[in-house]
Amino acid sequence: MSESVQTAGAKAAGVPDTSGTRAVTVVDRVFRNPVLGPLAALVLACVVFSLLTDNFFSVNNFSLILQQSVVVGTLALGQTIIILTGGIDLANGAIMVLGTLVIAKIAADSLNLQLPALFVGLLVCAALGAVSGLIVSRLGLPPFIVTLGLLTILQAASRLYTKETVVVEPGPLTFLSSGTYLFGYFRITLGVVVVLLSVAVLHYALTRTAWGRHVYAVGNNELAAKRTGINTKRVLMSVYVLAGVLYALAALQAFGRSPATSPNAFPTANLDTITAVVIGGTSLFGGRGTVLGSYLGALIVLVLQSGLTQAGIDPLYQNIVTGILVIAAVALDTVTRKKAR
C-alpha cells in the first residue's frame, strides 16, 4: 500500500453516492448465497416425496441416494471447475470410462496389479485433461469443440481397446464399496465419505485460496484477469488437469459401485454432470457457481428419480421433469445476470 496524503477536505467533501447502488433485494440474497437455491429445492423435493409416497422417507432410501451420487457427483466437480472458467467438458464420461477400462484390463491378471493399474488410470485421465487444457489454453479453441472432438475420439478408442465387459476382483479397487452402519442402521459407504470429502476440499480451494479466485476471475473476464497479472493459461491448464484427476477418482468410485465395466458403461454420465452443475446454480457463462451446489444438483436429480419411481410414475416422466428443471435453472441464471448488469 502506498503512503497517501489524507486531506480533511476530501473526507468532508465526499458525499455518499448511492445513486448507482441498488437496494439489496431477496433475489440478491439468493444470488449472494448461491447454495441456498439448490438446497431449498433439495429439501422441498424430499419433503414433497416424503408426504406423497410411503417408502421415500426411509433411512434405507436416503442411504441409497447418497451411494448413487458418488460417480456423477465426483464427475460434476470436474465439470464445475471447467464451467467456472467459462468452458464446458463434453468428454468427462468418456474419459472416466476409458479410465475404468485401462484400470480393469491391467488389473485383470493379479490383485497385486490393482494399485499400479489405478496409478496408470490416474495418469491416463490426467493426461487427457491436459490435452484439452493445452488446446484450450494455448490454441484458444472453444472448449465445446475440443471436448466434443475428444468425446468422439475416446468413444471409438474405448471400443478399439476392448469390446467386452471387464470385471475387477474385490480388492483395493473396490474398497470404496465397503461401508459401515451409522447409528446402527444408516449404511454409509467409504465412497460416500470420499465424495463428501472431495466436495469439501474443492470448495475450500475455490473459496479460500488465490487459485480459486483466479479460476473465478478467468471465467468472469479472462482479459481482465490477464491484465491484473494472473497467468490465465496456467490457471486454465491447472483446471483441466485437476478435472482429469477428478475423473480418475470417479473411475475409482465407479468400481466401488460395480466391479464390472465396459465401453458402454455410463452413457448419460456426461449430460448428467452438466444437469447437476446447472441445477446447482453454476452459470454456464462462467465465473459464478459453487461445487457444493453441483453436488446438491446431483442429489436433486437422484431424489426426483427416486421419488417419482416410488410414486409409481413412468420413468420417462423423470427425464421430462429433469429437463424442465435444467431449463428453469438456466432461465433463473440468465435473469439474475441481467439484473446484475
Binding site: G14, T21, T209, A210, L223, A225, T228, G229, G287
Partner: protein
Amino acid sequence: MNDIVLEARGIVKRYGHVTAVAGADFDLRAGEILAVIGDNGAGKSSLIKVLSGDVVPDAGEVLLDGKPVHFKSPHDAQLAGIETVYQDLAMAPALDIATNLFLGREIRRKGPLGSVLRMLDVKEMRAQSRQQMDALGITTLQSITQPVDSLSGGQRQTVAVARAAAFGRRVVIMDEPTAALGVRESKGVLDLIRRIRDTGIPVVLISHDMPAVFEVADRIHIHRLGRRACVVRPGDHEMNEVVGIMTGALPPPAAAEAS
C-alpha cells in the same frame, strides 16, 4: 522536479504494413500529471501499450529511472511498479471490491495455514482495501464486500483507480478514465488523479476529454502521426491551439519542449 521517471526513445511498432508508432519519444517526470492526447489513429494507444507492457515494440527503448527495461507482459510492468487502468476496466464483476483490489496479488495467512493450506487472509485484504479507500478519500463505496457488478460506472472506475494507486509504486497510467462517466463522476475521478499525484506517484493520463486534460494536467504530450509532436503546458496555450496542433491544423510551437 525535473527527474525523469519513465522515458521512451525512438519507439517503433508496426502492425503488418501499418506503422502505428514511428520513432516516438516520451518522458514522464516525477510528481506530475502528464496528459497524452492525439487524434484517433495517431498511435497513442500503441505507445501507451508499450509503456504498460501490453505490446513489445519493434524498435526503441524504454527506461525506468534511467535504466533500460524490457517488458514482455503487463505483469512485468506491474512488477516494476507501473500500473495501468484500462478503458474497459480489468475487473471480475462477480467478485467483490476487496477481491478485485487484490486480484493476482492475494495475501495469504501467516504460518502453516498460509504456506501449507494456501489459505487467504481475507480479513487483512479487506482491512487494507478499506485503508486504501480512506487514504484516497474515497467515500462513494458503501462496502468493500459488494460485488463489482452492483456498482455504477463511476464507482467501478474508482475501484480500478484505487487498485492502480495501491500497487503503482512508480507510475500510474490511465486510459480514458472519464470517457464513460457523467460530469459529477468525472470530477470525482479527476480529484482522485490529483490525489495520486500528490502522494508522489506520477500519472500518465490518456484522454480525449480536453476540459479534463486542461483541468488536471501539468504538461500535455501531443501525439501526431505516430510520434510526439510536442509537449506543452496547459497555461501557455489555449484549448483550440492544442487541438489545432493535434489535428495538424497548426504547426507545433518552435520551442517544442515545455520545461
